[in-house]
Assembly symmetry: D2
Homo-oligomer: 135 residues x 4
Amino acid sequence: MYIYETQIRVRYNETDRMGYLHHSIYAAYFEIARTEMMRNLGITYRDLEDSGIILPVYELNISFRQPAFYDDELTVKSILTMIPVIRLIIKYEVFNHDRQILCTATSTNVFVNALNRKPVRAPETVLEKFNPFFD
Amino acid sequence: MYIYETQIRVRYNETDRMGYLHHSIYAAYFEIARTEMMRNLGITYRDLEDSGIILPVYELNISFRQPAFYDDELTVKSILTMIPVIRLIIKYEVFNHDRQILCTATSTNVFVNALNRKPVRAPETVLEKFNPFFD
Amino acid sequence: MYIYETQIRVRYNETDRMGYLHHSIYAAYFEIARTEMMRNLGITYRDLEDSGIILPVYELNISFRQPAFYDDELTVKSILTMIPVIRLIIKYEVFNHDRQILCTATSTNVFVNALNRKPVRAPETVLEKFNPFFD
Amino acid sequence: MYIYETQIRVRYNETDRMGYLHHSIYAAYFEIARTEMMRNLGITYRDLEDSGIILPVYELNISFRQPAFYDDELTVKSILTMIPVIRLIIKYEVFNHDRQILCTATSTNVFVNALNRKPVRAPETVLEKFNPFFD
């Protein structure tokens, strides 16, 4: 299992007239959390794309429990329970500053060849970074 | 059952470096589809909010099958299978111009009192607009 | 002189906690207005890009006079006073439903070769669409 | 004169199909830079709003010189040359990691009473934070 936490502060333009962080923004936050989780393992998502592998989102399920507000410093906890050989499945938990849980979610991304848009196996250089956490 | 279709054209700023409509934008498109479905029944979401009832999203599940691209004119089909007494549950299907299915989703919104943020029953004026479609 | 008007309805996620259309969204609205102005002349911006010419924004000046609100149906008036040979300079006026002016702006885009990112002259096929309005 | 620098990393959803940071996002970045500049002086923009004073943008002028790309870590330099008594006028310079200048801009915000939407003088508690830098 591999767990990583990312801090994200709610921006003004991300709020809506209810005063809430708009629910569509969470998908962007999960993407940041995913990228930072990978960066922390030494994998740069930009380099991965430049090497010809893209990681489009295949499924996204979100439960919104409590709203987040402007300027809140949120923690996005990313939990990886399986080595991402074909699919990258991540569970997320979003907390506010008082460690109150606001949102939970699960995303599935697939490794895809950028040229022919066909699914591929994750590169070995990526897998070996995850290996130490799963055995 | 009540079905409504909304047309939305993909904006330039909604695309990403893969050339795809970014997946976070679908949540905003579903919100537009929801609003237009209600407007078509004579319910203005803005008036509903001004009357003290808000409709935050409680759950959102999305499956992305095929990407959408810049300037695509998408059709978002909203399907309502139950009268929204406490919760508004909508299924969505997104099609491109060739009627190829790109994305399916389900959203759950709850009727909430804007002041005390407690769940409430949908107003009768709202329910009576939906009634003719369900019996 | 060539003038074109586009209708855009303010989306929920485009509002902020002040209840206003967030000021950063106007740039996206001007882009839509620009695209629709060109489409009305028979120029598809997507086709232009696919032919190897991009039109990045070089300058954008905006004056915000009055706020726009959720669900407002805005009119963006685009005014072109010169044939866009090297630069596409457009003035915008944004009105609400009561024809009250909310915002004025000017944008400058440059025609650029997508491969070498060098400025180029607008294609003849583009210029000949604008010609009838300027003489 | 008061100068402050903020770091912002370009998010995936902020890029467009050209591969550039979309130009509409800069306005949001300037807002973050403004907020962090104030926070560094001990002024929380959220508290200011909660005290009944809002700071809508009145004018925004941007020159785009070079594009920014996905995952770039940008520096937004905010330069304040006058005490913000009635208006808050800020100049911005955006640099990439190689300290290459990408964008310059100027924003004007006005202090407004949130209730009657009339311009007001900046609160003394705000002005006294800026005073030491101007004499």
